[in-house]
């Protein structure tokens, strides 16, 4: 049985990043995740949120991002991040070429790769006009 289930909607604006981190951190503390895992969780949340803010609403129109978390059991946190921006599955992006020399290495393209590495079971689905990314993070993995 879930011991916590909360959600929060924020403007799709990077100025709201720290509110998003604080909200999900609350869930991580309720799940009793260790600080090392919370740091990785911060990273996953930031990368997804910033991605939505930058690319989800390209016309600059007002948009929202909804964060929801569940603590299915102590030591486990399930998170869903949803937006109504342009239909886009960031997980379809291929991995960056990490063997390139500095002069050939693109400056960006590492954010989603970090997400997929730190939250390997993350999923994407299109639900009506919503993009929904969901993942679970646990104390031990």
């Amino acid at each position: 049985m879930a011991v916590a289930n909360r959600s929060l909607s924020l403007a799709a604006n990077s100025a709201c990043l720290h509110s998003a981190l604080e909200f999900v951190r609350t869930g991580a503390l309720e799940a009793n995740l260790p600080e090392t895992r919370i740091g990785q969780l911060d990273l996953v949340i930031e990368e997804i949120f910033v991605n939505v803010c930058r690319y989800g609403y390209p016309d600059g129109g007002p948009g929202i991002v909804t964060f929801a978390y569940t603590v299915p059991a102590l030591g486990e946190l399930s998170v869903e991040i949803a937006d109504q921006g342009t239909e886009f599955n960031p997980l379809a992006q291929g991995p960056p070429d990490l063997t390139l020399h500095l002069e050939d290495r693109p400056i960006g393209g590492l954010g989603i790769f970090l997400v997929k590495t730190l939250a390997p079971f993350i999923t994407y689905r299109r639900d009506g006009d919503w993009n929904r990314l969901a993942f679970r993070i646990s104390a031990g993995l």
Binding site: S14, A15, L17, H18, S19, L21, E22, R25, T36, G39, Q40, D42, L43, E46, E47, V50, P96, L98, T99, H101, L102, E103, R105, P106, I107, G108, L110, G111, F113, L114, T117, L118
Partner: protein, 116 residues
């Protein structure tokens, strides 16, 4: 709310090289501060930069972008970016993204200064 926004950059000079000590968190909100500092150093003619990350607790891809950008700028000037003090999550992020192999990485400031 926790203080998420702080990144501090302390600059000093040792053995003719600029050493930048980065503390706090480097994220989408503040990563540009590091790039601006490095750009100013390069504009002042300093092309051998040592960056001590021993007190940096967090870095996201927006922070990594600035490191790659600064390293490219230094390379174009014939200079070098040396990084030291990596630990914890920051070291893990550099490992995952292959940046440990891309940059000159040292255990300590002293080793970085002698790194050649």
């Amino acid at each position: 709310m926790r203080e998420y926004t702080i990144v501090t950059i302390q600059q000093r000079q040792e053995s003719g090289q600029v050493v930048l000590l980065i503390s706090g968190r480097m994220d989408a909100e503040n990563a540009s501060q590091f790039e601006q500092k490095c750009t100013a150093c390069i504009a002042d003619g300093h092309t051998a930069l040592v960056v001590d990350l021993g007190k940096l607790g967090y870095i996201s891809s927006m922070g990594l972008r600035t490191f790659i950008s600064v390293a490219k700028a230094l390379q174009e000037k014939g200079g070098t970016l040396r990084i030291c003090g990596l630990n914890g999550l920051v070291k893990q992020v550099f490992e995952i993204t292959g940046l440990l192999e891309l940059f000159r990485v040292y255990e300590s400031v002293e080793a970085a200064l002698m790194g050649g």
